[in-house]
């Protein structure tokens, strides 16, 4: 038995003296260190300092973002668990829950793209299966620098291989995502990974520890020296020395994680678990701390019992290592042998490393000596929270479409857009992801606005439900006006779920921004949150989980503000779902929603005119909802054969995508209107969809009754796409242009 209340702890041999320099190296500001001293009442030991440093890092404490995140709506009747747990949980009916979250692994992926991206996937998978869910789908949102930048090709190659390497081995289909390129990400790419899992609603596992005396169990891989201080590293700006931080990037082993997944699910089917938490950022520190804090308890950790990969490791390294594929579990008393057998069957480490106490202190022992002793509640309640100064980005004046030149050659303009890096086919990427495993994938990448997978059989038997999932953000809109951009990101995610016929239910957000200590960056964050909050409220689309990644800057240059929205929706009868493929001649092509010809911040403006200016398209949330509800209703009536929302590139790009995805051409004509043709065809007005229907007149009649603008543009058929009087292109030519860019870029050797 250890003398828990002995205070102060012993000093270890070679323990350095805590100097201001050591404090600064731990990322603690001088006033934060004062706060620490007040809580401790004495100078901390190295391991204690390391724990404060990790727990109060931006990554773990959300100290700059907390006050703003509170403004997001998080509740709805179908929300079972909102933000604050490992992942969000929503009720999808039939006794089943969808559990999901998106998380960034930006800095590690820039330093070491394969392992950075792979462990990003591993981490988000653990967040989801920790809660009792079997993961059923992965998505990812990637932002790379200018394709011409010398590092970009290497980063694309490594990140994609890393995501595939981990997800493919785990046997979870990677079904969707998005990839953009922009020079603002040259020195700081974004890798946001999302996992969605399914669990019975009565078997969801949480992190809050309970039961004084209950054993604390460590399972999974052994602890090594990898990833020490990852949480602190990811909470600072990059500079030219960042590559020397490669040792702070963890190394993933998806094979072990697959075993861990199966072993955890097997244990979860018994009644042995009180609480469970994965060891992610800040490893053993944050997992043990969070479990004890959430349960209002204390914990004793005997660090010498932790399975170690190498000899000579010390308490500091053990507490701060971010070795992957590890879990911490609080078991019911007497269940240790049952649990041990399961983990031994899966050839994983299993060790009882401590127990819960009623002291509300975290006590760390090392071969019988106390080496750390921290009061838990004040570390949480007195954690720094900053209301950083912020300056909102003003709304730029709208751009007059008449002042944007029309294309000189319409055919060439469409081919150029379809082959620009942001719109070119991403098949080179998603063919490296197993998107078919589990046999439930109903909509493949690039065949619909959202990915769609069948929900596996639940406690109430066979399901006919489908889960629609998407990830969206248009960073150039957010940069131009964060409030509009935040609103648009949520609206587009909602629209993409709707376009399959599913009901959008909830959101996970991944907030990627620059240095929050700059007022204009904090203003971008604030503005984006305001826009997102407004949209989530108006669309009944609560935020149930998320992640904040700040300090995405290199040498003082910030990324485009990128609040990535991951969203999930449900369709009760998956046989009614539609994709975006135009597969049948004779279908009427109907434009839903009003077109004003908004070219400000459009891709046409950027790609064809080389300009990034004007206000982004406004988002009218009432109209968004009305138009979306109408489209979903028409899909439910089985009136729609294919549906695609209008976003980047506007109407003509959307139609071209539908044609090449389905292998059927189309012939449309523009209505007579005052809007210039290029604004009509390339404008990015929101709340619009293209639908293909056998009964277009019925769709239009219903739309009129619902007060929704709807216009029959033409019909599907043939092997060309043509717009009367303007453009005519063979599908094979559009397809070739669309598909050629990325493989050619990746295979180039210059």
């Amino acid at each position: 038995m250890i003398a828990e209340e002995r205070n102060p702890p012993v000093k270890l041999p070679n323990e350095p003296v805590i100097t201001p320099q050591i404090v600064a190296e731990h990322g603690l500001a001088p006033d934060e260190y004062e706060r620490l001293l007040k809580i401790m009442g004495r100078t901390p030991t190295m391991v204690e300092l390391g724990i404060f440093s990790a727990m109060w890092s931006e990554h773990c404490s959300y100290k700059s973002s907390k006050v703003w995140l509170k403004k997001l709506p998080t509740k709805a009747p179908w929300v079972i668990q909102g933000p604050g747990e490992n992942a969000g949980v929503i009720d999808i009916g039939d006794g089943q829950a969808a559990i999901f979250k998106m998380e960034s692994h930006n800095h590690p992926s820039y330093i070491e793209p394969y392992q950075g991206a792979a462990t990003g996937v591993g981490g988000i998978l653990r967040d989801v299966f920790t809660m009792g869910a079997r993961p059923v789908a992965n998505l990812n949102a990637l932002r790379f620098g200018d394709p011409k930048h010398p590092k970009t090709r290497h980063l694309v190659s490594g990140v994609v291989a890393g995501i595939g390497g981990y997800g493919n081995c785990m046997g979870i289909p990677t079904v969707g995502g998005e990839t953009n390129f922009h020079a603002a990400y040259n020195g700081n790419i974004l890798v946001n990974a999302m996992t969605v899992g399914i669990a019975p609603t009565d078997r969801i596992f949480y992190a809050a520890a309970a039961g004084v005396g209950n054993p604390l169990v460590y399972v999974g891989s052994k602890t090594g020296r990898d990833g020490i201080h990852g949480a602190t590293m990811s909470s600072t700006e990059f500079n030219e020395d960042s590559e020397s931080k490669r040792p702070t990037v963890q190394v993933g082993d998806p094979f072990v994680e697959k075993l861990l997944l199966e072993a955890c699910l097997e244990l979860m089917a018994t009644d042995a678990i009180v609480a469970i938490q994965d060891m992610g950022a800040a490893g053993l520190t944050s997992s043990s701390f969070e479990m004890a804090a959430k349960g209002g308890l204390g914990v004793v950790v005997e660090l010498d019992k932790v399975p170690m990969r190498e000899t000579g490791m010390n308490p500091y390294e053990l507490m701060l290592s971010e070795s992957q594929e590890r879990m911490l579990i609080v078991l019911k008393p007497g269940r240790e042998e049952l649990a041990r057998k399961i983990f031994e069957k899966w050839e994983l480490d299993f060790a009882v490393i401590g127990r819960l106490t009623d002291t509300e202190r975290m006590v760390l022992s090392w071969h019988g000596e106390i080496v750390g002793n921290i009061p838990i509640p004040p570390l949480v309640t007195e954690a720094p929270v900053y209301e950083r100064p912020w300056t909102l980005t003003p709304l730029p004046p709208p751009l007059d479409a008449a002042k944007v030149p029309a294309p000189k050659d319409w055919n060439a303009s469409l081919l150029a857009l379809m082959s620009c890096p942001d719109l070119a086919s991403k098949a080179w990427i998603w063919h490296q992801y197993d998107h078919r495993i589990m046999g439930n994938t109903a909509i493949n990448p690039q065949e619909g606005d959202a990915a769609l997978v069948r929900v596996p059989k639940g406690p109430h038997g066979t399901s006919h439900k489908g889960l629609a999932m998407t990830s969206d953000c248009t960073p150039r809109y957010v940069q131009a006006h964060p409030e509009t951009g935040g609103r648009q990101a949520v609206a587009e995610a909602w629209r993409n779920i709707t376009a399959t016929g599913a009901r959008p239910l909830a959101v996970t957000d991944n907030m990627n921004f620059g240095n929050p200590q700059k007022a204009e960056i904090m203003g971008q964050f604030a503005g984006a949150i305001m826009g997102m909050a407004e949209a989530c409220k108006a669309l009944d689309f609560p935020v149930v989980s998320g992640n904040v990644s700040l300090y995405n800057e290199t040498e003082g240059r910030p990324i485009l503000p990128t609040p990535t929205i991951g969203a999930v929706g449900v369709i009760d009868d998956i046989s009614k779902a539609v994709g975006s493929r135009l597969r049948e001649a004779g279908l009427g092509i109907v434009l839903i929603g009003e077109t004003k010809g908004w070219l400000g911040q459009s891709l046409y403006l950027r790609e064809a005119c080389g300009r990034e200016e004007g206000a982004p398209p406004p988002v009218d949330l009432a109209v968004e909802r009305r138009n979306g509800d109408f489209v979903r209703g028409q899909i439910d009536l089985r009136r729609i054969a294919a549906c695609h929302d209008l976003s980047d590139g506007g109407l003509l790009v959307a139609l071209a995508e539908m044609c090449i995805a389905g292998g059927t051409g189309a012939e449309i004509a523009l209505p007579t209107s005052a809007i210039p043709s290029h604004a009509f065809l390339y404008g990015e007005d929101q709340a619009r969809y293209l639908v293909a229907s056998k009964a277009p007149k019925d769709v239009i009649a219903d739309a009129e009754r619902a007060g929704v603008p709807a216009l029959l543009l033409g019909y599907a058929g043939g092997d060309a796409l043509s717009v009367k009087g303007l453009l005519s292109l063979k599908l094979s030519d559009i397809k070739a242009a669309h598909e050629a860019w990325l493989p050619a870029y990746m295979n180039a050797t210059d």
Binding site: H431, Q432, D434, R436, T441
Partner: protein
């Protein structure tokens, strides 16, 4: 038809093939853990896809040495049919149940895509519901599916009709366009000499339902049921 699906640490498509078998037979296969030295007598043994032992060392090399594989080899020698898919094919090749080896894809990347396959013969347990020359569409998902055999072996398996499927273009042309991994002679699947063991890289189990990848793989399982019931 009674069937057993073997499960190795790191197998991950065992559920997919079990689902396909249940869909066709109405009966769940027995799932057999790799540590088992013996298991119930069945009409069919399936080695499923995945990353057994993380694909470390060499794909399939470690699984081929597991206790249950000794029993599989004994039964295969007595003529019990074995269907070996993807990682299962790699294991079967390592265990010497089928000729040839599977190397890293020629383009060095993982590939998941629908491919077209030309059925080489309908004269087997596995292909009796297909016509020789028929073109079917099923997905592949692998990083090491580049089939290779030395010239003598290749000549022997071609002469004896041991090639089950070849990658082809949608119109059936066996050329470079339809080959996703660089396999020699576009070989996607092979039999043992007695045609009681078949190894193939593509996943017929992921093409058994109209909404979820099409139905071109279903006939393989229906054919097995017909032959083994």
């Amino acid at each position: 038809m009674k069937s057993a699906v073997l499960v190795f640490p790191g197998s991950n498509r065992e559920g997919d093939v079990a689902h396909a078998i249940e869909l066709v037979t109405g009966r769940k296969p027995e799932m057999v853990w790799h540590g088992a030295g013996d298991f119930e007598k069945t009409d069919l043994i399936v080695l499923p896809g995945g990353f057994s032992y993380g694909d470390y060392l060499r794909c399939g090399a470690m699984a081929a040495q597991s206790p249950v594989m000794a029993e599989v080899k004994r039964r295969a020698a007595k003529g019990v049919p074995v269907l070996a898919i993807c990682n299962g094919f790699q294991i079967a090749a390592e265990a010497g149940l089928v000729p040839g080896v599977l190397m890293r894809n020629a383009h060095l990347k993982f590939v998941c895509a629908d491919v077209h396959l030309k059925v080489e013969t309908s004269q087997s347990l596995f292909t009796n519901r297909y016509q020789a020359g028929q073109v079917i569409k099923v997905p592949v998902a692998h990083a090491e599916g580049n089939y290779f055999a030395d010239a003598d072996t290749l000549k022997r398996i071609e002469d004896r009709g041991q090639v089950a499927f070849r990658y082809c273009a949608p119109d059936g042309a066996v050329d470079g366009t339809g080959n996703p991994n660089g396999s020699i002679h576009n070989i996607a699947g092979v039999f043992n000499e007695g045609k009681t063991v078949m190894g193939l890289m593509p996943h017929p189990e992921n093409a058994t339902e109209p909404m979820f990848g099409g139905t071109d793989g279903k006939a393989l399982f229906e054919g097995l049921v017909e032959a083994l019931t």
